[in-house]
Amino acid sequence: MSFPWAEPYQPKNGLTRWFDERLPLPRLVYGAIGGGYPVPRNLNYFWNFGVLAGLALTVQIVTGIILAMHYVPYGDAAFLSVERIMRDVPQGWLLRYAHANGASFFFMVTYIHIFRGLYYGSYKAPRELVWMLGLVILLLMMATAFMGYVLPWGQMSFWGAKVITGLFGAIPFVGEPVQQWLLGGFAPDQPTLNRFFSLHYLLPFVIAGVIVLHIWALHIPGSSNPTGVEVKSAQDTIPFHPFYTAKDGFGVGVFMLLFALLTFYAPNYLGHADNYIPANPLSTPAHIVPEWYFWPFYAILRAFTVDFILPAKLWGVIAMFAAILLLFFLPWIDRSPVRSGNYRPRFRQFFWILILDLLVLGYVGGQPAEEPFVMISQLATIYYFAHFLIILPILSAVERTLPLPNSISESVLHGEDKEAAPADLSGLRPAAAE
């Protein structure tokens, strides 16, 4: 581990010693999430969301493997097999609702996890790879969620598959062959369903693998913290276990509570009614929308309505992918030496505008492509790109930041009573400099 004061692993009894000498797994766990991993002592609740995302992935894998025991990836039988799970399989309704809403929860906690990274500058050196691996996970999650949504073979499944694979049709010259290659035909059909099922089963394990790399890369410099000041001495840290295991335990409790409320009392709230209609290639739903977690990107896709050198459709596709890909370059776009938004008053203002902007994009992404929603989505798209590609590079060069605390322990004491409060915007340090 990176810090010299990290507690070395001491086997508690003969059995763990015997095991550790042959396979140092206990040592690995101890150093990764046990008492041997020193963590900054001032982490707030936003640092719970990494663990929660891991929990959500676990829920998805467990319920998913079970659903695959009953699901049939075969044309109309796919829809019927899902309904059989809902009606006849013992507790099948619970497993399916947990899986469907688990996807939403996975995205919710992952997005909060990402926003935390954006606000506290977790993407900055020396954690660039942690950030980039995280973005790889996000892309894999999106692919997995999209393919999973196709599997029930309802109307939205079918038309979602058609529209999203249609995006690849916008690529010049090779678009149409690529689209047919993805679908295994001219429209979503049996080959599409089978390959999506196969990949939907595979990708979560790829995600799990990238998560291992994500955590490995994180453990080299250690966790960041709300001040953005690096750990300087043993006083700044506290062992992961029992302190953060206890805190994560509480986080897991709150997460499960919200998850249970949604799964048991509003299981279809985040879904779309049309997906309870079996897929019909001859009838398009009045209003095709993806699941909510894709709405901001869907809004960006639809914001480009006029040809400008390239066709509008291609611009939309490019912009949608660029919206995610630009995040890979964030560590080099934002060169401010100060990590945490707590000490960057201007950055903080723009950060909250960005959050608002994303909420607006999400909202219009779920609305029909009519005015005034299209104009709003265009405005919001402009801000999205301007924020990352124009404002941040300029800001990081000209911004006047606030003085940083000398060390984490100093800042902890200053904001001691607020230790357990969510991102504190005014208490830790005064808001704006002027």
Binding site: M69, V89, L95, A234, P242, G249
Partner: protein, 192 residues
Amino acid sequence: MATVEHSDGMLATAPDGGVRRRDFINIAAVSAAGVGAAATLYPLINQMNPAADTLALASIEVDVSAIQPGQAIKTIFRKQPLFVRHLTPAEIQAANAVSTGELRDPQTLAERTQEGKAEWLVTMGVCTHLGCVPLGAAEGENKGAFGGYFCPCHGSHYDTAGRIRKGPAPKNLEVPAYKFASDTVITVGEVA
């Protein structure tokens, strides 16, 4: 270092040596997590049990009116073959002539049929050795050395009461629960 002391602090005992009230809360929280995890396992395991639509087919009705003495039919019960055999008086006699003492799985024909309906032998068509389907239910099939059923996989011979007489099978052909819904219809899967 301070941090080391902290981690010890959680597990430390009170000066008087007992478990402190603080520790009790930690133990209770971990226990609650354990209970929650165990409860979660229930649906994860229970889902593999037969589903409602499978169970709905767990009883079937068989019309036996067309089966002549000496004939048998093969039908499907719980996705497995079921033999319904209309015994001739000679077959009944042959079955009753055997003394149960010499049988591997001692049962009389009366125990294997319903009262007053000794001519109706209803058995699973599943050899008790390793699960093959014995021959003898259809016209012209090998009925084995004892005139009942013969399993070609490993050479088990069953007599006219479906009892194992020769070969590796350990038990008689299983008689499922069934009842006569009327004189000509039997309901298999329901206790009489």
